[in-house]
């Protein structure tokens, strides 16, 4: 709610704002490090190179999805269908990945194509109709799940070639391929967001769609690009998951969208659009992964894990809303 006071009250609000932004930006990193330190003290198993590598590996799939959904949320949208896209693209890729059928590039391309097409469909419906993205992607979430079941007859697609299984399950120079791909994706997404015209337009569209239009930005094209990009990243996640567990599961990725959105929001992406960073999202995803891994190491039951996770998400959104209030 705006009122006449905040607008004309620059001095106070500025100092208050910088303070809150400070919490949002560095508070997350601080919280992350604090949790890491706490876990290191609680269990000697936590702070080992091998365990850290495992955390990053486990986080990578969610992080890829979170990167995609960060793009979408920055433009003021949302994509709930990413979990289903993981299943569809995984099943599609697996169908082409049986040994001695196609070269490994084929399942990769087919999976990516499926994700890009799915994302583009989301973008098309969102831009061509007045239906809010929440509803559109809620619908395609269900459609996607159905497609995955249809394509696989409700059964996992297994017996995949070794070269395919290497993509998400192998190691290069002792480093799991998932970590390498995560780093590549992180850098690429950061560049898109920070250094390209498209990235700038994403912030503009999410920050003030009308003003973006008045500046000559093709808002529809930006949204289309964003949902397609999100679909591509979800496909990558789906292919990697399939490769990691060596089977295309039609029920894979259920609920992944919420973890991914949580990572983005914990990472400071504003649900009202216009702000967010890939670094924040990565830290958000790592935070979720570290907590999950740490509590497993401590043999804490998953019930408590859920409670902790919920508290962190709410905390992040409260920070976000504080931040927004001062922008009003």
């Amino acid at each position: 709610m705006k009122n006449g006071f905040t607008t004309s009250f620059n001095q106070v609000s500025t100092s208050y704002k910088t303070r809150v932004q400070g919490i949002g930006k560095y508070g997350l990193l601080a919280a992350f490090l604090l949790i890491c330190i706490a876990l290191s003290v609680l269990t000697p198993r936590f702070l080992t190179v091998q365990n850290l590598m495992i955390i990053v590996t486990q986080v990578s799939i969610n992080a890829l999805l979170a990167f995609g959904v960060t793009f979408v949320i920055i433009t003021g949208g949302i994509d709930l269908s990413i979990g289903s896209m993981v299943a569809v693209t995984g099943v599609v890729a697996a169908s082409f990945a049986h040994p001695d059928t196609f070269p490994v590039a084929v399942p990769l391309l087919m999976g990516l194509l499926a994700g890009v097409a799915f994302g583009a469909f989301n973008g098309f419906v969102v831009t061509r109709s007045n239906v809010p993205p929440f509803i559109v992607t809620l619908g395609t979430m269900t459609i996607g799940r159905g497609l995955a079941l249809i394509l696989s007859n409700g059964r996992p697609v297994s017996n995949l070639s070794d070269s395919f299984n290497f993509i998400g399950g192998g190691k290069v120079l002792g480093v799991p391929t998932l970590i390498i791909l995560l780093i590549v994706a992180f850098i690429s997404c950061t560049i898109v967001l920070r250094k390209t015209v498209l990235g700038r337009y994403m912030y503009a569209v999410g920050g003030n769609e009308q003003a973006a239009r008045a500046s000559g930005i093709r808002v529809g094209a930006v949204k289309m690009a964003v949902y397609t990009l999100c679909g591509g990243l979800a496909a990558l996640a789906g292919i990697l998951l399939t490769s990691r567990i060596t089977t295309g599961q039609p029920n894979a990725g259920a609920g992944f969208e919420l973890d991914a959105i949580a990572a983005a929001i914990i990472g400071g992406t504003s649900t009202s659009g216009g702000s967010g960073t890939m670094t924040g999202t990565l830290i958000g995803a790592l935070l979720i992964g570290v907590i999950s891994n740490g509590l497993d190491l401590l043999n804490v039951t998953s019930y408590y894990q859920q409670v902790v996770m919920g508290i962190i998400i709410i905390g992040a959104v409260v920070l976000d809303s504080l931040h927004n209030k001062t922008n009003a």
Binding site: S8, S15, V197, Y203, Q210, A214, S215, S270, G274, N327
Partner: protein, 507 residues
């Protein structure tokens, strides 16, 4: 303290994180006067008002209300003692009725669980509104009211509160002329009953129409208090900005206008405007005047491709064009600065630099990648040219004053190098210093051969800047005046023109 002094403020100081928002400020309000509080944005008016109504506590100084100390009161105390504020942006509950809003928080039902006596409230509110001479149904939910009507309800709320001091912050910013007249009549009645009005406005003509006394603040300091009758505009501006502005408007230099950049022929949008024909030449300013709702903004929106037109044609450099979207318009070299700065102007979460370069970003990039250094250089140069007051190119636009935000929006359009620039209320809500700068900028770009269309409700601005003036009434063009033909009176006459034979739709 004389006997008719109702509110006295002395030595008031308030500091926010080291910055003095108010520094030893004084103010004396007498019963039954309209006391204008003047100053540029950031002069400390709002801080002072917030302290008066108890939203902020001063660091030092005293506030005497009818001789009692009010310095540490909270909002409730102040209200009870009779100081009310009419807010710039209405603070009402849209779903509740007029009567419920007027008596909100003071229903006096005798307990939370008792029935609210709605009928009694409605009767009381109805009587009050009638007494004020405004025709608003007290049982109407507030969401159906116009802005002007809501303002009347706010005033009714203040009166019902037995307010002896009413603060009005830019009360006419959203009112049409007839509504302003009603407001002034009510203010007159209130002052006759001894109510004092503290009146904040940027509009000089209003101040000289209704104010009895004027107090000027500048940079948080008290500057002067004078009877309005002893002031003229130049003196008042000099007090506010601390220097004498040579002239608010740049002197026309008589450079002949160039080729016709934009011409519009028989333009119409069903039910909104019709038969609009004009042309603008390179290096010319075409002013568009008219009352609120006359169709000025709608014409600009249609030319910029935000609304569809239903008849007529648009030519750019003599060639007929079809414009369906802002992208089309921008492609034809049209830039548009909306009257709604927050809605259509800038991206609040972005820096000054990012906002400036947004419309021209393709120019400062190679392929998909932005050339960071060039972008920064371009933005910094434009900030210099526009004299944008910011801590640097990376400061967020939200934190700038309205005038500087407006400069950024204009800079954004200018960097796209438009051949035709449409400015809709370019100085609305901007303080006088920034206004002068924006006029200077318009003049500069005019000299560089840009064709400029300027829509404005402020007649001095229209008269001071335009080479030609088109006047609209009820969606139709009533005249086209040259600079030397035009005067406030002629413009108003044409703006009030009522054509009884054909309706405003003009199919």
């Amino acid at each position: 303290m004389t006997s008719d002094t109702i509110l006295q403020v002395r030595g008031l100081t308030k500091t926010f994180s080291g910055v003095k928002a108010l520094d030893d400020v004084q103010l004396t309000i007498r019963k039954g006067e309209v006391h204008a509080l003047m100053g540029e944005n950031g002069a400390g008016k709002s801080t002072l008002m917030k302290i008066l109504i108890g939203l902020l506590t001063p660091d030092s100084g005293e506030i005497l209300f009818e001789g009692n100390d009010l310095t540490t009161g909270n909002v409730g105390d102040v209200l009870k003692r009779g100081i009310s504020m009419i807010h710039q942006e209405m603070l009402m509950i849209p779903e509740l009725t007029v009567a419920q809003n007027i008596f909100l928080g003071r229903e006096r039902s005798g307990g939370l669980l008792r029935w609210l006596d709605d009928r009694r409230l409605t009767e009381k509110a109805g009587a009050l509104l009638e007494q004020m001479g405004v025709a608003i149904r007290p049982d109407m939910p507030v969401k159906y009211l116009s802005v002007a009507q809501m303002q009347m309800v706010e005033i009714a709320r203040a009166i019902s509160n037995n307010a002896s001091v009413i603060i009005m912050d830019e009360p006419t910013s959203a009112l049409a002329d007839a509504e302003v007249a009603t407001l002034f009549r009510i203010i007159g009645e209130l002052t006759r009953q001894g109510v004092a009005i503290i009146y904040i406005s940027h509009k000089m003509d209003e101040i000289f129409t209704i104010a009895d006394t004027v107090t000027v603040l500048r940079d948080g300091k008290y500057i002067a208090t004078r009877p309005a009758a002893e002031l003229d505009i130049d003196t008042l501006i000099a007090l506010m900005v601390g220097r004498k502005l040579d002239s608010l408007f740049p002197v026309p230099d008589g450079v002949p206008a160039g080729e016709v950049m934009l011409s519009v022929d028989g333009l119409g949008r069903r039910g909104v405007f019709a038969d609009i024909s004009f042309e603008v030449r390179a290096g010319e300013v075409l002013g568009i005047a008219g009352l609120m709702g006359a169709g000025r903004t709608e014409i600009a929106r249609a030319i910029f491709g935000l609304d569809r037109i239903s008849q007529g044609e648009i030519r750019i450099r003599g060639k007929r064009v079809v414009i369906h979207s802002p992208q089309d318009a921008i492609g034809h070299g049209i830039g548009y600065v909306s009257e709604d700065r927050k809605g259509w102007g800038f991206i609040p979460g972005m820096s000054v630099r990012e906002n400036l370069t947004l419309a021209s970003l393709r120019k400062w990039s190679s392929g998909p990648f932005i050339r960071d250094k060039q972008e920064r250089d371009v933005a910094t140069a434009m900030m210099g040219e526009l004299n944008v007051k910011a801590t640097g190119p990376d400061q967020l636009v939200t934190y700038l004053s309205g005038g500087n935000q407006q400069k950024v929006v204009i800079g954004n359009r200018l960097l796209a190098q438009p051949a035709i620039l449409i400015l809709d209320e370019p100085t609305r809500g901007i303080d006088i210093g920034a206004k002068a700068e924006i006029y200077r900028l318009i003049h500069q770009w005019q000299q560089r051969g840009v064709a400029i269309i300027m829509i404005s409700s402020e007649l001095p601005e229209i008269l001071g800047m335009s080479d030609r003036i088109m006047v609209l009434a009820q969606g139709k063009q009533t005249t086209m005046l040259s600079r030397h033909e035009a005067s406030q009176e002629t413009i108003m006459r044409y703006a009030m023109h009522r054509d009884r034979d054909t309706g405003p739709t003009g199919e």
